[in-house]
């Protein structure tokens, strides 16, 4: 085989996926796109016939020298990551893996990124191109397999995080990166305010930081880069060594705060508190809300992403986030409104876009917002 590799466990299910969509188009039905069935707590409930991508799988091309991989949507994320690892490469945005069934399509459509995100970028930053089936089951191809491409509108990045409401992703081309040659994790017991000040000042220096949380009374840091810079920075920062397994647990939502087993297929039980994710601008102080006193939380992304367990009223929390310039998502299964409502102008253009790209409402209707 040449530079380009193809994986062995592959399957092309394009024709039948297309047929199913053509049928939905004819009959005026809706589909509920399902990858691995692992992220069903994201988004709103969808009424529709299940359309599984799981048979459409396999890496269609991978050229380590190009740093580009193209992969079918139903491919297990695990399989993709294992192939990349064989070549010392990785998905730099560290998508969460909710079990072995997580698919690449679900990863892209849900648009979640892990601890490295503030330094390396999000899922969308690594998407170069996509193949999708439109509302009539016809294949379209956007972007490409090159690093730069500004021809036409960037529809492939538009699909990222759209929760399958704009089209069925069948294949995606991603930019990958070499695994850093050196890594070290540290824990410093300092209070939150000092931790955030430190992060702001380190952020202005070219340090090899690649993850930072404030959690359980300590600042947890990951350094990644060349051995020289990692060692020098570790010396400068001090602190205790931290088990690197912490970042894996954080990435995969397995720390106690996330209560691992809840995100399997079991229904959400009443005694657990809702799980919130706050996205906030850098340097936002801790939200001053009495309701959050003593709430369980993790400040990830150097404070830009905060995980929270709380019964707090959604509007109270959202207002506080909005005031700070951010937003809040509820990841509790069956949450009525998981996503922060859009401003009237934005909502209008969202509706118009959905109307244009999916006029009959075939794709995951209502998954993001009730009206599209």
């Amino acid at each position: 085989m040449s530079a380009t590799e193809t994986s062995t466990t592959s399957g092309d299910d394009l024709v039948s996926l297309g047929e199913r969509l053509k049928q939905a188009h004819r009959e005026g039905g809706a589909v509920r796109i399902e990858g691995g069935g692992t992220r069903h707590f994201t988004g709103r409930q969808v009424e529709g016939e299940v359309l599984s991508t799981r048979r459409h799988r396999g890496i269609t091309s991978y050229d380590p020298v190009e740093l580009i991989v193209s992969v079918r949507a139903g491919t297990p994320l695990q399989e993709l990551e294992a192939t990349l690892a064989q070549h010392g490469q990785m998905l730099p945005f560290e998508p969460p893996r909710f079990g072995a069934e997580s698919t690449v399509g679900g990863m892209v459509a849900s648009g979640l990124s892990g601890p490295r995100r503030p330094w390396a970028g999000a899922v969308r930053d690594f998407v170069l191109g996509m193949r999708v089936l439109d509302h009539q089951g016809r294949e379209q191809r956007f972007g490409g397999e090159v690093m730069k491409n500004v021809a036409g509108y960037d529809l492939s990045r538009l699909m990222v995080g759209a929760q399958g409401t704009l089209g069925l992703i069948t294949e995606v081309s991603l930019k990958v990166l070499p695994v850093p040659s050196s890594s070290r994790s540290l824990r410093l017991e300092i209070d939150r305010e000092r931790a955030m000040q430190q992060l702001a000042s380190w952020g202005r220096q070219p340090l090899p930081l690649s993850a930072a949380t404030w959690h359980d009374g300590a600042l947890n840091l990951r350094l990644e880069g060349g051995p020289g810079s990692v060692a020098a920075t570790a010396d400068m920062i001090g602190g205790d060594d931290l088990d690197a397994g912490y970042w894996q647990q954080l990435r995969d939502w397995q720390l106690p705060l996330f209560r691992d087993d809840q995100f399997r297929s079991q229904p959400f039980t009443d005694h657990q508190q809702p799980l919130w994710r706050l996205a906030l601008p850098a340097n936002t102080p801790a939200l001053a809300l009495a309701e959050l006193e003593g709430a369980e939380s993790i400040d990830d992304w150097a404070g830009c992403q905060r995980w929270l367990r709380s019964d707090i009223e959604a509007t109270t929390l959202r207002d506080a986030c909005a005031l700070a310039g951010g937003h809040a998502t509820c990841f509790t299964p069956q949450a009525a409104d998981p996503y922060t409502p859009l401003s009237p102008v934005l909502a209008r253009y969202h509706r118009q876009l959905k109307q244009q790209l999916d006029p009959n409402g075939v794709f995951n209707p209502g998954r993001l917002y009730p009206d599209f």
């Binding site: 380590p64 202005r204 880069g225 920075t233």
Partner: protein
């Protein structure tokens, strides 16, 4: 070939009476500067693609958002097309005016509104020059990474509209990777904030959609950019090759070694000689190609990377490798590259800059293809480009005063872009489609994709008033020009009538 708006293929433009539109706009926004006399309009008749010129009906030079809003509302009501212009450095005719349209010039929006060094962001107006951002934040040890070669002149609004990139984007990304949020005004005069200072926002990723949308979905009125700490050190290696294909192979080998350079640029012999003549950068004028490889970061890592890259270059057959001894020499090495376009411009009365992207592994083959096409068409082509991104910028040298030579240059350019598409690439990496590459869009996309693009346009601009005729060809145009590329005897878009 003529790239001016062709109503038969690009859609009808409603005729307007200049005096009436002028009166209506003056009434809607009494303090708005409006130019209407021919001598005032003349400076705006083209952008960086100066071969094509059109006098706009009117030029508006707003200074406030209220003026922009009043102007857009009125134009929307009267169905007058609006073409937005930043600094006018675009090379694809994206800001080419329309005879029946208003040219909305955003250059007076030139203030840096806020610098937050702790949060590493800057909030700026769209007319701020790219380089001015880095200059303003330099005292904080920060900079704005995307650095198009035109950065001294081009505006950040134009960068957003073209998703501009530069030498740094191999490692630090394009505009899309470095902008946090935008304020946009729609053709209906509605204000939207897209994205935020947080790292994501609810809903669709409209931020990505706006990037590179060439002023067709909205007018960018404010940009919040991400700033990066200046690397502790940057070193540049210059490698000479006696064979351009070997240089092309070395590019892939460096990246395969796990190194992501801060910049990885390539120049061929013609470009080397032109630059050396112009700048005296110390380039080897007898080399067939040089690679400039910049490694930046923390001292210790950079030293290690230099050693790795040196080894890779030696095995790839470099005949000479020089490490810039100090910052002055490093600046000189780069000055040659940064001035390569004007340098080549001195060798020929005219040049035509192409902008195709290919998978890196195809570099050797495509370079060979370009040199064959160059011979076939009898025009010299200088190659100077972002090799690490596979982003080619072949410069076609010609003399517009010679009968028919522009047409030959354009045809050769089109062939080069098609070669890029055949190699699995794209007809534009960073300069945009504009008017210039509107026909080649039909080579890269089929009618389903083009229909989807029109659907997106429709969602934001129902009447097609913002920059009509740019970026996305009509299917009618593809039916006419797409027929140039017949594969297996199959006509593209067989469903459409032929003209």
């Amino acid at each position: 070939m003529n790239i001016l708006h062709d109503e038969r293929l690009d859609g009808e433009l409603v005729p307007h009476d200049r005096a009436k539109v002028l009166a209506a706009l003056a009434n809607a926004a009494p303090d708005l500067t409006l130019l209407h006399r021919e001598e005032d309009l003349r400076p705006f008749e083209c952008d960086g693609l100066s071969a094509y010129r059109v006098l706009p009906m009117l030029v508006a030079l707003p200074e406030t958002l209220d003026q922009v809003e009043a102007l857009l509302r009125k134009c929307h009501e009267l169905r007058v097309p609006v073409v937005t212009r930043g600094a006018g450095t675009g090379l694809s005719g994206g800001a080419l005016p329309l005879e029946q349209g208003v040219l909305l010039v955003m250059s007076r929006f030139s203030r840096i509104l806020e610098i937050d060094a702790d949060a590493r962001i800057a909030r700026v107006q769209p007319g701020v020059r790219n380089l001015a951002i880095s200059e303003a934040v330099a005292p904080h040890g920060l900079y704005y990474a995307p650095d198009p070669s035109s950065q001294i002149a081009c505006s950040i609004g134009g960068n957003v509209a073209e998703n501009a990139g530069g030498v740094h984007c191999l490692k630090y990304g394009l505009t899309v990777h470095n902008v946090m949020s935008l304020n946009v005004m729609t053709i209906e005069g509605e204000r939207m904030t897209i994205g935020s200072e947080a790292l994501d926002s609810p809903g669709f990723d409209l931020l990505a959609l706006m990037m590179g949308s060439e002023g067709m979905l909205g007018v960018v009125t404010e940009v919040t950019v991400k700033l990066l700490p200046k690397p502790e050190t940057a070193k540049v290696l210059m490698a000479s090759f006696d064979d351009i294909e070997k240089a092309g192979t070395a590019v892939g080998a460096i990246i395969a070694a796990g190194i992501i350079p801060g910049g990885l640029e390539m120049m061929d012999n013609l470009a080397i000689r032109a630059a050396e003549d112009f700048i005296q950068a110390g380039y080897p004028v007898d080399a067939e190609a040089i690679l400039l490889c910049e490694l930046d970061g923390v001292e210790a890592d950079v030293q290690e990377d230099i050693n790795t890259v040196r080894r890779v270059l030696e095995t790839s057959g470099a005949t000479d490798i020089q490490l810039a001894r100090d910052d002055a020499e490093r600046a000189r090495f780069w000055a040659g590259r940064k001035n390569a376009f004007p340098a080549v411009g001195r060798m020929s009365p005219d040049y035509y800059c192409m902008d195709g992207t290919i998978p890196r592994r195809e570099l050797p083959r495509v370079l060979k293809g370009i040199s064959q096409l160059s011979e076939q068409y009898g025009l010299r082509v200088a190659n100077v480009f972002h090799a690490g991104d596979g982003n080619m910028h072949p410069l076609i040298l010609f003399d517009a005063n010679r009968e028919g030579e522009l047409a030959v240059a354009e045809e050769l350019g089109g062939r080069i872009l098609e070669l890029c598409v055949e190699a699995g690439g794209s007809i534009t990496g960073e300069h945009g489609v504009g008017r210039e590459k509107i026909n080649q869009m039909c080579a890269q996309f089929g009618s389903l994709e083009i229909t989807a693009f029109h659907a997106v346009k429709h969602a934001f601009d129902e009447h097609g008033l913002l920059n009509p005729g740019k970026n996305i060809p009509t299917l009618a145009r593809c039916a006419e020009f797409g027929a140039m590329h017949v594969h297996n005897n199959e006509l593209p878009h067989p469903e459409l009538p032929r003209f």
